[in-house]
Amino acid sequence: MLELRNISRHQGGEIFLDDVSLSMERGELNILLGRTLAGKTSLMRIMAGLDKSNSGELLFDGVSVLGMPVQKRNVAMVYQQFINYPSLTVFENIASPLRVARVGQNQIDMQVAEVAELLQLTQMLDRMPDTLSGGQQQRVALARALVKKADLVLLDEPLANLDYKLREELRAELPALFAAMGAVLVYATTEPTEALVLGGNTVCLHEGRVEQFGPTLSLYRTPNSLRSAKTFSDPPLNSVEVECVAGQFIYAKSRQLLGIKIEKIPDGRYILAVRPHHLSRKREASDEIEIEGNVSVTELTGSETFVHFSMEDNSWVALLHDVQDFAVASKVKFYLKPQHLLLFDSNDALVEWQPEINN
């Protein structure tokens, strides 16, 4: 188990990591999800022992490893830019960490064969890296990280430089591969969809802080903060500022009523948020909330439609499961089931609530 306790890192007045505490089990995939500069790579470098933290404690299986140099730790890391030795065959590329560790030839043959099988590289062991496709080259880099049976495997956006379709294939293969390894796995990505496909646990990172940590799907379904919800939404989360006056909700800007009533909620300012696929063109029940806006642009994918519109001066997007074109600047109405509304207080924390409909 890898434990981080109150890890902080700052340099020249800039904060990279701010009081990060996490605990990650062996055999589980832990995803670091966040935008560029959220602290994903900083965190991985501390886990690996490449950088020092200014404060905090780092333990592996209960033993402090904070001062231990990277060479002494059994860590493997895979980067976005896949790196292979161009003059070595695929076999020798994968075997290289075992050669460094002076493992015997029989053992090397066995371990390379095993990992090559897992990553579907068996047919390519005699080839040189530059004769492989990008996806195959990245699989070789992955194989090299996996072959030494590291206790901690760090993957920093390993699929980012690959073709879309290849990424899709590897994403589908990776969870089974990771499950078979028994290491602590940490996987950084900027893409919410990637986190959802991979499953496991997710850490939502924002500006060096952990916003939320838990099972991936439950984080997606019940974000505890607006930051977490925004980080974990693709297409982007829709939000609007509202005010609650005696249980009645009104838009903060236009002062229009929303048509929902919520009991037992203190008066004040709130943020209402909704995911794009929860907006529908058809009203299916009388308690649904009507959302109106002006279309700014429509994107059609052939099977889905993304309608971008302005709602109370906010940019909103609706994801429709069919193809419909909307004229720019036309008025458009959507409907929303109350149970799909996310409500955040003035500190951006999630508010648990039960809707009561006001007809």
Partner: protein, 354 residues
């Protein structure tokens, strides 16, 4: 802006045994938004470089508005280009970077100021206008590259080579829609190279799907989704792609797993291989209607669940919308109008419906 014609265009790199680009005949209209979509190595960047003048084709001609530009340089062709990685001058400010291509063309100062202000607003960089470019993140630098491609209005075409690949997902949404708005406003001829289907489909009026140096289909996003002309297009477009299932043909019916799917025409049975194409979006799950599906995995990706399974040994994916219940032992039925039939990978018929 100009229309672009490719006449018997092909390209083979000097030492290579095979064509990187196989002979093609294309006319792209003035003011159109086109995307070149395909996996790495399909020839899309080679084609873009030929259009921009960075590469001279080994065969064929390139015409802008009926004028042969095959032997003209990039500069003589008067086109704007945006690349995958940011091209900015670190020591200049953001505004100076945006103004640079305009100064070079001798445009009046007040016109430059106006266009730079427009670009800053579009890119959401107003408050960074006077900052040196070196202090910006990679995302913001790439925004400047985009802006520099878009500030000139006198160009024949604007070419984009994977411009959003290094951009964070939330910003991609913003920049994609800005590009779309710009196209709707100025009607530039735009050509956009990408391996990302969402970018291609949302950007372009016409998507050119390339595979192994050849154009396999040109069509609107909807055509590519509903009637892929080749199994490659069916698989490449969509997440997951189209299910391609080995089948048999009986007159005007396709037969899969003992079930008949009526086709819109009688099919010559002489092909060596028949396959039935059905999109995951067009498969319905129920508790007892249709063919029994052995479920192998459920992938919940938030807005929908991907159900992976098998029918008589054939792997199949189906999409179930968020909030719709998935039966314990599901049966599947295909929306028969959306079935396509492929003979040796090419589409020969589509479903007639029941």
């Amino acid at each position: 802006m100009a229309s672009i014609q490719l006449q018997s265009l092909a390209h083979r790199y000097p030492s290579a045994p095979d064509y990187a680009l196989r002979s093609m005949q294309q006319t792209w209209s003035d003011g159109g938004a086109y995307a070149l979509l395909g996996p790495s190595g399909c020839g899309k960047t080679t084609l873009l470089n030929i259009i921009s003048g960075l590469l001279r084709p080994s065969e064929g001609r390139v015409l802008f508005d009926d004028i042969d530009v095959t032997d003209l340089t990039t500069e003589q062709r008067n086109i704007a280009q945006v690349f995958q990685f940011p091209v900015v001058y670190d020591t200049m400010t953001v505004a100076e970077n945006l103004a640079f291509p305009l100064h070079n063309r001798g445009i009046a100062r007040n016109e430059i100021e106006k266009r730079v202000a427009d670009a800053l607003q579009m890119l959401d960089l107003q408050d960074r206008a006077n900052d040196r470019a070196r202090s910006l993140t990679a995302d913001d630098k790439q925004k400047i590259s985009l802006g520099r491609g878009l500030v000139r209005t006198d160009v024949q075409a604007i070419l984009f080579d994977e411009p959003l690949t290094v951009i964070d997902p939330h910003l991609k949404w913003q920049l994609r829609t800005e590009l779309k708005k710009i196209h709707q406003r100025f009607q530039h001829t735009m050509i956009y190279v990408t391996h990302d289907q969402t970018e291609a489909l949302t950007f372009a009026d016409q998507v050119i799907v390339m595979y192994e140096g050849a154009v396999v289909q040109i069509g609107t996003p909807q055509q590519l989704f509903e009637t892929p002309e080749h199994t490659f297009v069916g698989r490449f477009i969509g997440s997951p792609g189209m299910n391609v299932l080995s089948c048999e043909v009986d007159g005007s019916d396709a037969v899969f797993a003992g079930k008949k799917f009526p086709l819109n025409k009688t099919v010559d049975a002489s092909a060596s291989r028949f396959e039935l194409g059905i999109r995951p979006e067009h498969i319905k799950l129920s508790a007892g209607d249709g063919m029994p599906l052995t479920v192998t995995a459920l992938e919940d990706v938030g807005r929908h669940v991907i159900v992976r399974g098998e029918i008589e040994g054939a792997a199949l994916s189906a999409l179930v919308k968020d909030g719709v219940a998935i039966p314990q032992n599901p049966y599947v039925s295909f929306d028969s109008v959306h079935v396509n039939l492929y003979a040796d990978d090419y589409r020969v018929a589509s479903g007639r419906g029941d």
